[in-house]
Symmetry: C2
């Protein structure tokens, strides 16, 4: 902090420099303000949660606009000089900018105001759009993903503003309403507003910690590419007695094709699939092995007696740093009770690959196409189609100064060092911001893996909400030390 003080001292942003200079003193004041404003902040979060902004369902269109307007109004109230609601082909994107000084780093906070559907509705203990506070938690659709998480940096900035007048960094917000449907409108907005959205670092106000006791920083995610394979045979379902033996059964063709693509143990057999995979270094493997991963609890949680996968790798290595091909669905012929001795006209499957550095989705599409084209099944037509969105893998350099800032911020709140982790899931926004804006994305979200995200009874712990606010306050101050990138400011 100290080296930044001198830099700012001669400038007009007196309050900021004062605040930075007296950080240890002011921090207590800011924390006190957060405590004092708690009831009001939770009130606001509940108001936000009452808007049923379900992006997957077209009849919530009006609610999407209400939610975008609500968050824009909240940012205006916070004092951000520029707040815009950008129209798109889909749901609007909210942009806000609080430019303090060109000599300060610029941070762009990403979040989303849309939520998942609520079904099965009957399984909710309280109505999903009437937030309920009980047992130290707030229950509602979006409580964690992402309305709760998104409110955290806003409340943190509000407290900083009250105590210091201005934030210690330039802050931008980028809040979309289509995260739950694959962000179809985001790419256009990013590429059309590169200058507006430029920053030194992006921060993702979405996501989770390792557990309620263990803070963590997620530095990597796997990419994704998805396919559908269709095997067509006779023009209609045939009687398996009158025709069985005469023609190739499309299900036989499908299971043969799929079983030659992936083994039960998860080894992908498509030629070239692993060719661009970056091997884990010895130190990465040591780091993974050092993490508090409880394999017994993991097995119990998913209800299997035995874990399994690509040989020669630990479970965390397989989930985080090895690519997979999973068949997500398969169907064809007769599925109901009893017997129908049909030889079906067609058979189908969907499958998707999780990718790791440096696999490229487009290259994997080519390999899958080549594999399917290279096979010939008499009397069958086999086609493979690439489904909708794909995403590249993401891996932030572990020596990135943003990570150091985040580490110190978390340490200040949790009183312990966060662990560096990855996710086996896909975070398309990370690679998208990296490619379009040239920034790395720091994941700084305060959910936990048990928050029932996307499920009935989604909740956020009030303790995590409070901790998140204090952590964001510290993060903003820590990020004031961030070196400016060429595109930043």
């Amino acid at each position: 902090v100290e080296d930044r003080i001198g830099l700012l001292m001669g400038e007009k942003k007196h309050n900021v420099s004062l605040c930075l200079g007296r950080i240890l003193v002011e921090l207590d004041k800011i924390d006190d303000f957060v405590t004092a404003a708690r009831a009001d902040n939770l009130e606001q979060l509940q108001a936000f949660l009452r808007i049923p902004s379900v992006s997957t369902l077209p009849h919530h269109r009006e609610d999407m606009i209400r939610a975008a307007d609500w968050i824009a109004a909240r940012l205006r109230k916070l004092g951000l000089p520029e707040v815009r609601v950008i129209s798109t082909k889909g749901n609007p994107i909210v942009f806000a900018d609080w430019h303090v000084d060109r000599s300060l780093p610029t941070v762009i906070v990403y979040g989303h105001y849309d939520v998942q559907p609520i079904d099965p509705t009957a399984l909710w203990d309280s109505p999903p759009f009437e937030p309920s506070m009980r047992d130290g938690r707030i229950y509602a659709r979006g409580a964690k993903d992402d309305k709760g998480n998104l409110m955290i940096p806003i409340v943190a900035l509000d407290a900083i503003r009250h105590v210091c007048g201005l934030p210690p960094v330039n802050v931008k917000f980028l809040i979309e309403g289509e995260e739950e449907v694959g962000s179809p409108s985001l790419l256009d907005v990013l590429s059309n507003h590169r200058r507006l959205l430029s920053a030194d670092l992006a921060v993702c106000a979405d996501g989770s910690m390792w557990s309620v006791d263990t803070p963590s920083l997620t530095v990597g995610s796997r990419g994704l590419v998805a396919f559908q394979i269709d095997v067509l045979g006779p023009t209609s379902d045939l009687h398996s007695g009158h025709f069985g033996g005469a023609v190739t059964n499309p299900i036989h063709g499908l299971v043969a094709t799929l079983s030659e693509m992936v083994s039960p143990k998860g080894k992908v057999k498509i030629a070239g699939f692993y060719e661009n995979v970056v091997d884990l270094s010895a130190s990465e493997r040591r780091h993974f092995a050092s993490l508090p991963f409880d394999e017994k609890a993991f097995k119990a949680r998913i209800g299997v007696t035995e874990l399994s996968g690509e040989e020669g790798f630990t479970t965390l290595e397989r989930i985080w740093a090895r690519p997979t091909l999973e068949i997500n669905g398969i169907w064809g012929g007769f599925e109901a009770e009893g017997i129908k001795t049909v030889l079906p006209a067609s058979a189908h499957a969907k499958f998707s690959c999780r990718l790791v550095p440096n696999q490229d989705p487009g290259h994997i599409v080519d390999l899958v196409n080549n594999y399917v084209r290279s096979r010939r099944l008499p009397g069958l037509e086999v086609t493979v189609g690439h489904l909708q969105w794909s995403a590249r893998p993401y891996l932030m350099p572990t020596d990135h100064p943003g990570l150091s800032a985040a580490r110190r911020a978390l340490e200040g709140v949790y009183n312990q060092q966060p662990i560096l982790v990855r996710t086996g899931g896909t975070l398309p926004i990370a690679d998208l911001l990296r490619r379009e804006l040239g920034v790395w994305l720091l994941f700084f979200g305060f959910g936990e893996p048990d928050n029932k995200t996307h499920s009935p009874n989604e909740f956020m712990r009030l303790e995590s909400f409070d901790r998140g606010i204090r952590a964001y306050v510290r993060l903003f101050f820590e990020l004031a030390k961030l070196p400016l990138s060429s595109s930043g400011g």
Copy 2:
């Protein structure tokens, strides 16, 4: 015929012997009677067809009883001295007996009064239970299967009775109401009434000829045994990102298991599967090759460019005389539009084997169980269950005197020799009667393969109905020459 006359001359059945003696003369009279009674017979068939006796749907229970009573009344009207409606746990079975003389062979005619459901209803050009006569055909559900076919021997016997007073053989009827649901009540009735049902030959008043121009006699059918395989993994569907690579995907386990059971070309890879298969003789293969099978028309009909199957066999050999394993249905995970990157909790398939002499369904069940038990997939539980009914293959000796009688009867109507054929389908009744009553079953049905059996717009050609009646008249007289079996009459 002549040698039977002497035998009968001294007996009281004057009319029969007279009739047998004057067969060539009387046949014309009988045919004339059939022609005269045609309108009346079609009227009766239409009344029978109006009863919606759909055995697969429980709400037709009353209609099943009405249909059974209708056919019993028709047999009483025909003059059969004993007609009984036998109650079962399911739909009643109609039994009738016309014992003429113990020195005559006894023939038991089998048929069924139940029909398939009518859906999709919208595709019928006339209501399925309001018979419509147009273009020389009668359209209705059951027109061919089996009400039309079942009326044929009844009308034939009626004509014989009018002209001769008595039939030339002892005749029994066994008419069930559960053929379309796998005959669940029939076995009990057969084993509890062996004496009542005893005969020298059974005749099946159900089925089809090769084509409208080519009469045929079906001498063999394949057996059937059906399975469901269930592969269970985690207790619920998992996120393929967070868990992909850690556990065996049940769909991967399923496709591996199935692809190791059967090749795309239809070779069954289960150890021992072919061990009891009787190879076709050189003369059987020559006979198959001599049949008027039009492979080009066959391919066009089912819409495939290429036929395929077990290597080293012709298409007819593969369908009629080689066993198969067909996967009838497969399902698991996500099937809807778009992507859901799930790692499913389970995956399932149904498959069935068509069997040929001398494969035994029970033995095949053992082999399949052994195969599945011999495999181990980490973290998955694989179970295979044998579904409901199974049936043995059936093959009537081609030198059976019943076949010679049928051949002569058909020749007399079609003016050409029928061809001996098999079916790749399963006719469980054949093996059931063979085992329970010790009789062979002669297939003598007058549909054609294009009758849309089980489909909308099922029909029977009036020409075939008429030919069938004249053929049955001749068959009853020809069967008078049948040697008496020990269990007969």
